[in-house]
Amino acid sequence: MLCEKCGQREATSHFKQTINGKTTVYHVCAQCAEQMGLNNLFHGFHFNIGDMFGGLLGSVSSGSAPSLERKVCPECHSDLKSISETGRMGCARCYTTFRNELLPTIEQLHGRVNHQGKLPRSAGEEARKKAQLNSLKKKLEEAVRTQDFEHAAQYRDEINAIEKGMRDNGEMV
């Protein structure tokens, strides 16, 4: 059998990859296997959900109005077509430019479209404090539930200190 990738050399390496029960088979020559990173032990980096994303977005954008396809990101000049082909954004601004077009697909991928978790400095001090408070309140609830009163007292003190600091700065708590 000839290599599926180059179609020139004999396929000497045969790989089966199973992801969540779906199996893909590759028959490739040694050189192409090396290029594809298939001859290393753990080629976990290879599975890329981005390819799937492109497919999902493609099915959405193909039905969209022609005017959408002419919309271009002012920062990096990507359009919806190039994004759905590569499954990758051109820059951070693409998310603002194409937000409405992207949201349904993002929801399909994650099930949710509201960030939970860590905030960077660029999110602003107030937002970070609020997120910290929410996280501490959840920990407090959990500590009370499991009757871990030592940690509960510690979380309560931390919450009080942050809330006091916010009030002193005239911020809403």
């Binding site: 790989f15 089966k16 990859q17 199973t18 992801i19 969540n20 029960g21 199996t23 590759y26 594809m36 990173g37 298939l38 001859n39 290393n40 032990l41 753990f42 080629h43 976990g44 980096f45 290879h46 599975f47 890329n48 959900i49 981005g50 799937m52 994303f53 920062e75 990096c76 990507s78 590569t86 499954g87 990758r88 954004m89 051109g90 820059c91 951070a92 998310y95 603002t96 992207l102 697909t105 993002i106 991928l109 994650h110 099930g111 949710r112 479209v113 509201n114 960030h115 939970q116 978790g117 860590k118 905030l119 960077p120 400095r121 660029s122 999110a123 937002a127 996280s135």
Partner: protein, 344 residues
């Protein structure tokens, strides 16, 4: 310095390693693939400067240019999951930040501007996240991350939006695999927002019965919650695997198989990667479940063999010797390394 995989970890009979990866981008550069080489070099310089004063004890960071990661040196990093195969394909404008014990690696200008990765041996996602967060905070203190209050950290691929966190655990689950339980397990996992991957291998089996389980969803779920979900599921799988192993070793034929694996591992003069994985997997069951009795086995522990996984890859052997080895030379060296581990 002792490498991360040489340190003992928890649940070593089933869990090989834990890994945390954070995907980050800077707001003042376009994403990878849309940058000029000059921008890529400037970005790498920014990241380097932001990490220059971080205190990681004696586990200090080295900064390697992408152009240095060629040949077996680059391939060895791929074998041990330090960088992606794509990363070494084209080193232009790229930088790898690597800690002394290799537990911390940061790919700069991969698919995302910054990919922070921390590995620990055994099941220990929490301390991996702690270290990754420390590095994340150091970069955040001087550079501006691309962030959106609704979508979280902005990543080149929308599958990483939100926390940008991918937590994964590498498991050795031969008994569940032999019992035919993995199809059902992976179906259940995908309903829980987790994904299971085998590495390539013969048939539908992963080589060496090694599987990686990781979170699929990154948006709308906090770092702590994602890790908690993964840890809870993994703990259940660990218990199930142990039960299945106990049942497996009651068979006289399987006990015979364990001793045969031992015989080959101890006396073979050449061992290919493929054979190594086949032999070590069943041999590990024998060690973990106390099947191999006698004084020569007393000091053997699963940890000792888990760390072999990171030492026997073809390119890693070349890296160790500092030259390109033929396939024969690699198989000989591999056999020697295994025998050293059995002897000590």
């Amino acid at each position: 310095m002792v490498k991360w995989y040489e340190k003992p970890g928890s649940e070593p009979d089933v869990v090989i390693s834990s890994r945390i990866r954070l995907a980050r981008n800077l707001s003042n550069y376009p994403f990878y693939g849309h940058m000029t080489e000059e921008q890529m070099n400037r970005l790498a310089g920014d990241v380097k400067a932001s990490l220059e004063n971080i205190n990681l004890g004696d586990n200090s960071l080295s900064f390697l240019s992408g152009d240095e990661l060629t040949g077996y040196r680059g391939m060895s990093l791929v074998e041990n999951h330090i960088v992606s195969p794509d990363f070494i394909q084209d080193g232009t404008g790229r930088m790898l930040v690597l800690s002394q014990d290799e537990s911390i690696s940061i790919m700069v200008n991969e698919e995302d501007h910054i990919r922070i990765q921390v590995m620990t041996s055994g099941l220990d996602l929490d301390s991996a996240l702690e270290v990754a967060s420390k590095i994340d905070d150091a970069i955040d203190a001087s550079l501006n991350y691309a962030f959106d209050s609704q979508l979280g950290f902005l990543t080149a691929c929308p599958s990483n939006l939100g926390t940008g966190l991918r937590a994964s655990v590498m498991l050795h689950i031969p008994a569940l695999e032999k019992a035919g339980s993995l199809n059902r397990l992976s179906g259940t996992l995908s309903k829980l927002g987790l994904t299971m991957r085998g590495t390539y291998g013969e048939g539908t089996k992963a080589v060496g019965s090694l599987y990686q389980i990781s979170n699929q969803i990154t948006l709308g779920i906090s770092e702590e919650q994602a890790i908690k979900n993964l840890r809870e599921i993994v703990s259940q799988i660990v218990e199930k695997e142990r039960e299945a192993q106990k049942a497996l070793v009651t068979s006289a034929r399987f006990q015979d198989r364990i001793y045969r694996c031992f015989g080959t591992l101890k006396y073979a003069k050449m061992i290919s990667t493929e054979e190594f994985f086949e032999l070590i997997s069943d041999f590990q069951i024998g060690i973990s479940r106390g099947i191999l009795t006698g004084s020569e086995f007393q000091r053997l522990s699963p940890e000792r063999f888990n760390c072999l996984l990171f030492q026997i890859g073809g390119a890693t052997l070349c890296q160790k010797e500092g030259r390109d080895l033929t396939a024969e030379e690699r198989d000989e060296l591999r056999a020697k390394i295994v025998q050293e581990a059995l002897k000590e």
